[in-house]
């Protein structure tokens, strides 16, 4: 008996034909064993995911400062304050800018995937590996490295600009350059991931569709619009929604590269939450902001799942 058969639900039986007693007992027994098997994972999930989430929700209704044992229940005061918090919404706007910026990486990933799936390309595996390497690197390492690249005086970026006769730029110090600079760094780690996902989609498209289109006189652009794009629709949906989820919770690069500055020009919601909870000791208020961020991510995830279900049908 295979494992699948062993764990599957008992089949429905007609009223007139009850299942043999020993079969029913064995099926119930199998179901209980299933619960025991998931026990370790369930324990870890409850202790390290569910319990902290419930604690965070509870703390969001208090004024706890994270230091004192005393905490007062203040109902929805933190949420009311959050509604009028310009800094929170400013940070959220930066997250959305980041989402939009990540679509550039997806575009680059699509171009690279298209090139790598072309029949004339040589050393495809080598290119795919090299282009994917940034996606495997720690964001802390990436942040430190790009900090050096963006250095106003000693960074290679300004060095290249000056060698070309242009003025150097304060990439991370300018109100209008810091956010694009951080997003560009994030994109450097993301395009390779997008490329691999899209490459998988491209390779699953039936080549005979292109041959038939060519016979019918369709050009490259027409083939791309009418065959390629519909063929990788699921992958594009996945990347767009993942970009929402990942960038809404982004923290590392901002922490390493700018501390949310200059001013609050690169502050994102997760960094603001960290600042509230661990710098200014407003744990209750920070928990409320975290709950709101979680709800936003949750809504987007649900929308994503619905979209996928619809496209699968």
């Amino acid at each position: 008996m295979s494992a699948d058969t062993f764990l599957e639900r008992p089949a429905a039986v007609s009223p007139g034909r009850a299942a043999p007693t020993h079969h029913r007992r064995r099926d119930n027994h199998a179901g209980v064993i299933g619960y025991w098997l998931v026990l370790p994972a369930a324990t870890i999930y409850v202790a390290f995911t569910l319990w902290p989430i419930l604690q965070t929700v509870y703390l969001s209704f208090t004024d706890w400062n994270g230091l004192s044992p005393a905490k007062s229940f203040i109902a929805f005061d933190n949420y009311r304050e959050l509604l009028g918090d310009e800094r929170f919404f400013g940070a959220l706007l930066h997250n959305l800018e980041w989402v939009a910026g990540s679509w550039l990486a997806q575009g680059l990933g699509l171009i690279l995937a298209a090139l790598l799936s072309a029949s004339w390309i040589r050393a495809r595996t080598l290119f795919r590996t090299v282009l994917f390497v940034p996606a495997t690197m720690s964001l802390v390492v990436v942040g430190i490295a790009w900090n050096q690249i963006y250095q106003p005086d000693t960074g290679i970026l300004n060095g290249a600009l000056e060698a070309a006769g242009m003025h150097g730029v304060g990439w991370l110090s300018g109100q209008h350059t810091a956010m694009p600079a951080v997003i560009a760094t994030a994109n450097w780690t993301y395009y390779g991931f997008a490329m691999v996902i899209l490459l998988g989609g491209l390779q699953s498209i039936d080549r005979s569709l292109y041959e038939a289109a060519s016979v019918d006189g369709a050009g490259s652009f027409s083939q791309f619009v009418h065959i390629t794009l519909p063929g990788i629709r699921n992958q594009i949906t996945l990347l767009v929604v993942l970009s929402f989820i990942n960038t809404l919770k982004t923290f590392d690069l901002v922490y390493i590269m700018t501390n949310g500055g200059p001013g609050h020009a690169t502050e994102v919601v997760a960094y603001y939450i960290y600042s509230l909870a661990f710098v200014t000791h407003q744990v209750g208020y920070g928990a409320a902001a975290a709950v709101v961020l979680t709800l936003i991510v949750l809504v987007i995830t649900v929308v994503f799942l619905r979209l996928r279900e619809r496209s699968d049908r």
Partner: protein, 451 residues
């Protein structure tokens, strides 16, 4: 209905019960809190008892000071073989992020050194996480060894919670070799300081090394201008939650504006908001900038890392308002404290007294660049000229208008956090002095209201 046997019930409901029990057990780990006595006595181990102590030190980012503390600790362990002391070195930044949480969970170290500001140690103390030291101040005579103005830097709500371990003041470092090369007069007056900056700029040398990516360096730069141009009484009121002064004060705003003119005139490192403190500091001690507005705390690094430490000088930041006596931004660099949950507070206090106040310890710290907080006679120790200049600058302020506070970093974490973002915008000229002051006053009002 067939009654279920207990075994059967466990078999069915067991996974859920076990999962919940294990999860709650795991979640409960680390939430126990220790207790200390409010009178400062530990009620635990006494001096002479066998004990293991843990110490968290801020010297993680000051490699020159780690061996000093390690050697003094070895000497203490040799004198007290029944005691084992484990020291963990953290950067000040990392310590501020981790220590409050570990203290609040009751798993903090026995001893730690921490910024003595009301916004730092004061916040931990007033939340019951630090043991009051008044009993030990009397027992070891610390009040006789230190000026009250120094010892009281770690006094909150009428109790002493820390032993300040270093005196610090912000002043003006300059590279005498560069000044000599361009025939520039020493910047001992404000007019000479401005003339030096103009001359260096004309010569293509960065006049003042400044990197504000880490945000806190703006406190020292703007604070230097503030302390050179604002009466000490106003500064102390501004930096206290019990005070009434505000950042909107016209004199305070005018002082902040002076610092911004240094940026506007091109005296500071270009694109300073994107330059890390370490990089700006390195530019200074490697001879790529003429001046550096910083605290005495960086002196050990200059002595250790500069190719020619003898090229560097340190003077008081010159007073802008000539009617005021010499004063300086600063205070104490850190304070030794004992966790409220420590079961060996008596031994911890004994350790602090040993590593801080013995003549051997005072001399070792001074040689390493840590300026004494006690009345220790520094002439007994042969130190590098730059260190002696540090001592002179601190004493000049103490004997003059006084040492004020760490600007924007003393009263409350709320003000500090507001300062960090707004100061970058202010110096970067995307916010004027009035808007900068309004941001700080909002945070200050909130902090004062909470207290």
């Amino acid at each position: 209905m067939i009654p279920r046997s207990p075994r059967s019930t466990f078999w069915r409901a067991g996974p859920i019960a076990v999962a919940v029990a294990l999860a709650l057990g795991a979640a409960a780990c680390g939430t126990t809190t220790g207790g200390g006595n409010s009178d400062g006595s530990s009620g635990g181990l006494k001096v002479g008892d066998k004990a293991t102590l843990t110490v968290v030190s801020q010297f993680g980012d000051n490699a020159a000071l780690q061996p000093v503390l390690t050697k003094l600790n070895e000497a203490y362990e040799a004198a007290h073989p029944e005691v084992t002391v484990t020291i963990q070195f953290l950067s000040a930044d990392d310590e501020q992020k981790t220590l409050p949480t570990s203290l609040a969970s009751g798993s903090g170290p026995d001893i730690f050194d921490y910024d003595a500001a009301e916004s730092a140690l004061g916040e931990l103390a007033t939340n019951g996480l630090v043991a009051p030291l008044d009993t030990y101040v009397d027992k070891y005579g610390w009040a006789k060894k230190m000026e009250p103005s120094v010892l009281d830097r770690a006094k909150y709500d009428g109790k002493r919670y820390g032993v300040p371990r270093s005196s610090e003041a912000v002043g003006l470092f300059y590279n005498a070799a560069i000044f000599a090369k361009y025939g520039i007069e020493a910047p001992t007056t404000y007019a000479a300081f401005l003339a030096a900056a103009d001359r260096l700029k004309a010569a293509g040398v960065t006049p003042i090394a400044f990197g504000n990516k880490d945000q806190w360096p703006s406190s020292h730069l703007i604070g230097a201008a503030l302390h050179a141009n604002t009466p000490m009484q106003t500064i102390r009121s501004l930096e206290s939650l019990d005070g009434s002064a505000t950042w909107a004060d016209s004199g305070v705003q005018a002082s902040m504006e002076i610092a911004r003119t240094w940026a506007a005139n091109g005296y500071l490192t270009s694109n300073f908001n994107g330059v890390a403190f370490d990089d700006a500091f390195k530019a200074f001690y490697t001879g790529r900038a003429g001046m550096f507005v910083e605290g005495t705390g960086v002196t050990p690094d200059i002595l250790q890392n500069a190719t020619k430490p003898g090229d560097f000088r340190f003077v008081s930041f010159p007073m802008i308002d000539a009617s005021l006596k010499q004063q300086a931004e600063g205070g104490v660099g850190g304070a030794w404290s004992i966790s409220a949950s420590s079961k060996a507070a008596d031994i911890a206090a004994d350790w602090i007294d040993f590593v801080h106040f013995s003549d051997t310890a005072e001399a070792a710290w001074l040689k390493a660049g840590v300026l004494p907080t006690s009345r220790f006679d520094t002439s007994k120790v042969d130190v590098a000229p730059l260190l002696q200049q540090n001592v002179d600058v601190v004493r000049a302020a103490q004997n003059g208008g006084g040492i004020g506070a760490w600007t924007g970093y003393t009263s409350s974490a709320l003000v500090t956090e507001a300062w960090n973002g707004a100061a970058q915008q202010f110096l970067g000229r995307s916010q004027d002095a009035a808007a900068f002051a309004a941001t700080l006053d909002d945070a200050l009002a909130q902090a004062r209201k909470k207290k």
